[in-house]
């Protein structure tokens, strides 16, 4: 079963269009959504939650159409973390917990308390005194404390230091130890997504360039450094994109089409992203 399914979803604004996006997140997996600022990541996430209405297409989450009446019940099973946490400034973590008890039917106070403890968040301190990292941790604690089956995270790790980010990624990693738990995480920190994702979806200027298994991407693509002279030896159909430098040319290549003789380096998600975006601009 797919935890998330988007089929040909389109949403138009006067200055921006998210066009014909189709992607799916198989249950039990982590899908990383990458793309530059303004690529449409947040729009896609808001469409998923039906926070904004789509113009056309279909969206099914945990087996339910997100426009159906019953979607309210499905929302109980979705843990959401947006890039900014919005809680009233004077509330403390303790009172946020009490508030959530009345918001979610499946709220588990003891889980929440455990997370506060794990994140070293005092339940007395007021929200306005929180650092960005603490705000994020509080949102994540809330998202995980009502027995969700799906986590949707919009830039949940941006603006945090590497240690906190790693700590948070580990929690998402642990969360998916259960087969029916899935995660959608958007970020422009590609290294984070490279660490934990099973699938990578790449949005660019409102269009989906690809949605593929991460390790397959890594196996399929590689970077090859060549000189102008030896460029002619590279089979043309193996070259996907190129970046000309003053002294050498860097190529994004399909590994499978090149012999062992070529010294192909590993291409990270970031390399693939940069090359493909450059190619689009040409």
């Amino acid at each position: 079963m797919n935890a998330i399914e988007m089929k040909h979803v389109t949403k138009s604004y006067p200055a921006f269009t998210l066009s014909d996006v189709s992607l799916s997140l198989p249950s039990g997996c982590i899908l990383g959504l990458v793309g530059e600022n303004g690529a449409g990541k947040s729009t896609a996430i808001r469409l998923l939650l039906n926070g904004i209405a789509r113009d056309s297409g279909e969206i099914t989450i945990l087996g339910r159409d997100n426009r159906s009446k019953e979607f309210v019940q499905t929302k109980e099973e979705i843990g959401i973390v947006l890039d900014e946490a919005y809680y009233p400034e004077v509330l403390s973590a303790g009172t946020v917990g009490k508030m959530m008890q009345h918001t979610y039917k499946s709220w588990q106070q003891d889980t929440f308390v455990k997370f506060l403890d794990r994140f070293s968040l005092s339940d007395k301190k007021q929200f306005k005194e929180y650092s960005r990292g603490m705000k994020m941790k509080l949102s994540i604690a809330v998202a995980l404390s009502h027995q969700p089956r799906l986590l949707i995270l919009d830039e949940a790790t941006s603006g945090l230091d590497p240690i906190v980010r790693d700590e948070i990624l580990e929690i998402f990693n642990d969360f998916t130890r259960q087969e029916d738990h899935s995660v959608l995480i958007s970020s422009h920190i590609t290294s984070d997504l490279e660490k934990i994702s099973d699938y990578i979806a790449f949005l660019h200027q409102g269009r989906l360039l690809f949605c593929e298994e991460k390790d397959r991407l890594m196996e399929e693509y590689g970077i090859l450094q060549t000189t102008v002279k030896s460029l002619s030896e590279v089979p043309p159909d193996a070259i996907i994109a190129r970046r000309e430098g003053k002294y050498a040319t860097e190529l994004l290549v399909k590994r499978a089409l090149l012999s062992e003789a070529f010294d192909v380096e590993r291409a990270g998600i970031e390399d693939i992203m940069l090359f493909l975006v450059k190619k689009e601009e040409v």
Binding site: N173, T176, R266
Partner: protein, 124 residues
């Protein structure tokens, strides 16, 4: 059981897992009937993709190294002697080729090599 994943390696991750588990079976560290960790458990502990881990397990099963019992997990298959023998032969061949290349490079003849081998045997 020890498995080391190198992200910088040009060998695909599923292949790294496949080879290392296969080696553990061939050198006897994993014996017939031993349970392998669950796919999901191993993936999460190694912090790698579940799909990739499944690919490695599928490959091991296809090659006859493990059996999957529905609902129970993956187990090391009964020693396929011929298979292991074949694997070891391949390894020996590879080593011999390396020796020959080295010897060629410094002018040592095949006879010298055989002589060296005899001396080794005697010393043992």
């Amino acid at each position: 059981m020890e498995i080391i994943i190198r992200n910088s390696s040009s060998q695909p991750i599923y292949e790294q897992i496949y080879t290392q588990i296969k080696d553990l079976i061939l050198n006897g560290a994993l014996a017939e009937g031993d349970a392998l960790p669950s796919i999901r458990g191993l993936a999460k502990d190694l912090r790698i993709s579940v799909i990739t881990t499944k690919r490695a397990y599928d490959e091991l099963e296809r090659e006859g190294f493990v059996n999957t019992v529905a609902g129970k997990g993956c187990f090391i298959a009964g020693a396929n002697r011929e298979l292991i023998h074949e694997e070891n032969l391949k390894k020996i061949e590879a080593h011999m080729q390396a020796i020959r290349q080295l010897a060629k490079g410094c002018g040592i003849t095949n006879e010298d090599l055989i002589e060296m081998f005899r001396i080794l045997e005697v010393e043992e």
